[in-house]
């Protein structure tokens, strides 16, 4: 597991208040992890702070799974 992947999963677990063991690369934020629209916003904000990046809102919309989030953030860091 890369550093980015580990930190992404930690952020997801912390923000969505879920067991880290439930989180896989294929986990879908909305359908599998129950991220409502407000939590999705909080997730993006948490990623931005964790990695000190600014995520484009439109592009962030396309990030629907944990694995995609890792790929997306790796482009920035």
């Amino acid at each position: 597991m890369s550093d980015v992947e580990r930190r992404v999963k930690e952020v997801v677990a912390r923000t969505l208040k879920i067991d880290p063991g439930r989180i896989t690369d294929k986990s879908r934020f909305v359908e599998d992890l129950g991220a409502e629209s407000i939590q999705s916003v909080e997730l993006v904000a948490a990623f931005e702070e964790e990695f000190d990046i600014e995520m484009d809102e439109e592009e962030a919309l396309e990030v629907k799974t944990v694995g995609k989030a890792v790929e997306f953030i790796q482009k920035y860091v």
């Binding site: 916003v41 909080e42 904000a45 931005e48 919309l61």
Partner: protein, 674 residues
Amino acid sequence: MDDNRAFRVLSRREIELLRMQGCFAEDWGLIEVADGFDPACVRNSHFSGRVRLGRFSDNVRLPGGFEKPSGIYNAVLSNCTVGDNTRISNVPDRIANYDIAERVCIENVSTMQANPGATFGNGVEISVLNEAGGREILLFDRLSAQFAYLMCLHRYRPKLIEQLRRIARQYVESVRSDRGQVGTGARICSAEEIIDVRIGPFATVNHASSLRNGTILSSEEAPTMVGVKVIAEDFIVAESSSVTGGAMLSKVFVGQGCQVGRQYSAENSAFFANCEAFHGEACSVFAGPYTVTHHKSTLLIAGLFSFYNAGSGTNESNHMYKLGPAHEGKLLRGTKTGSFSYLMWPCRVGPFSVVLGKHSTNFDTGDFPFSHLEARSDGKCAMIPGFHLTTVGTVRDAAKWPKRDRRKDATKRDAISFEVFSPYTIGKMIKATRRLKELQDATDRSVEEVSIGGGLVKRLLLRTSQKYYRTGIEMYLLEKVVQRIEAALDDAKRNEKAGSAALQDAVYSPDWVDIAGQLMPRQRLVDLEGALETGSVATLDAFDAAIANILRHYGADEWAWVRNAYEEVFGVPVGELTAEKACAAARELLRVKSKFLNLVTADAQKEFSESSRLGYGQDGEVDDVERDFRQVRGLYEENQFVLEMNRSIEQLHQRIERIEQAIGRQQGTKSICL
């Protein structure tokens, strides 16, 4: 009825004939008739006092093409005038002290009477917002949302209030009369009692239970309806409105184009243009234009609203069992409250915000538009400033309000600015962005949340909210500037003149205000209030003219504001944009607006997500879920709104391309004068 028209007393033969037809007069000498009067059309009726009857030579036309003969049948008339071709039938108690115009139909009405010195609902004081008093509005039938707003809310200017009340009282005296009126073509059918009610032309009163001390304004192009089982006292209902379905009104103003019904009950409340109120209850409410409440369990109390949508079970507290019902709340324009939302007054919610859940703290988020305000389990308000800027509901609302203007009368009493994005909202967003940045910079990372006027914002979201607002601010300012660039490119000379002329008349204020649906620079308001206080605006006509003048100057005032804000936000003066900067502005608009439209479309897409399919395919197999959803909701790609958004993005691309080409053709031009 024409007062100058010649009337004559009845001939002996006519009196004899009328007697034979079951008529009785306490003094036949006081009964006068118009030339061409036909006694055959008056039967089984009783006359007392001075009565004047018109000519009954034609039928009265009723809805559905049905016709009935004009005349007086089985009725008691006391001190009345009756116009030509009017029908009065089955009035067993009396119609007293009324002037009834031509082609009116009154049938099956028990009692209709005007008493000496009646003012027909004019002059009634209603305690809006503060149920305990102190913000009374004096009703009169030319009341506008703007007049009422100033009278109610600007109590900090006592001289102004005194002058507004003087103007209102003067008007009330001008309508005081010992006689009621029914206008041409009105139809009053099966009403139990109508006391001191003035009924305008072409109004329909159909099966109303009791109407007391009121005015029903109406006109041929904007007929008004008061319907079944309505009980109303101390009221005014304006043109093109309907009050039906057992509505109960006490001390209520219903403005133009409103719909009140389905057992709605309201007291001490004013509803201005295009409000809709069904099933629920209003108490001490200032319902500005487009306040909408449709549900049975919704109570609106002691609040200011406009462009508002109340979810079912919305409720507010203004009492708290202390010094009485003294608290008030303000939901600024465009707010929505979700099902079973509860707010504890005093409270102020910023424009176009969404309120969810049971809030048991007081907060003021008035300067943070488009916010998400959700009650936490501890009753505190969790706030995300700007969250609803790109929600699909906001965009749909903006498009639907102008289309739903039901006011049909030539005179539109309330001045309405429909704009969602305006110097009012964008100005608030600029200030909000600054405040959010200050908080972001000043808050340590260990802090989880900060309070903004009592709303709790997660520290993490301080930056996110700035992004939301930045999108709105940039899109609005660029759009306004690019519109000007387009106009300048179309006709450089004409635009230059028009632009400078418009700016000469413009008033600039950094802050804009929303006066019951009308947006204006604060300075316009200050000037108007000053003029009222000094007496240079001293009549109702002058007030209405001043408001109309402000509305007329909206565009010029807005542009004066945009010029300043654009320079402040982008650091570029817009007076004379170089061709290069004009192109850059157009390209930037393309970027920002496309992003906005894409975010709105993405929000719409949530309505087609997997979770939206829950419960579909009832009693079927797994595949039936999708099939059922498609049949009922359709495909996302085929949704009308989504198609419209996609078209808007396409058109935006074409528009920017055209602008760039036009600027390219004018390469000799050093700058574009806006």
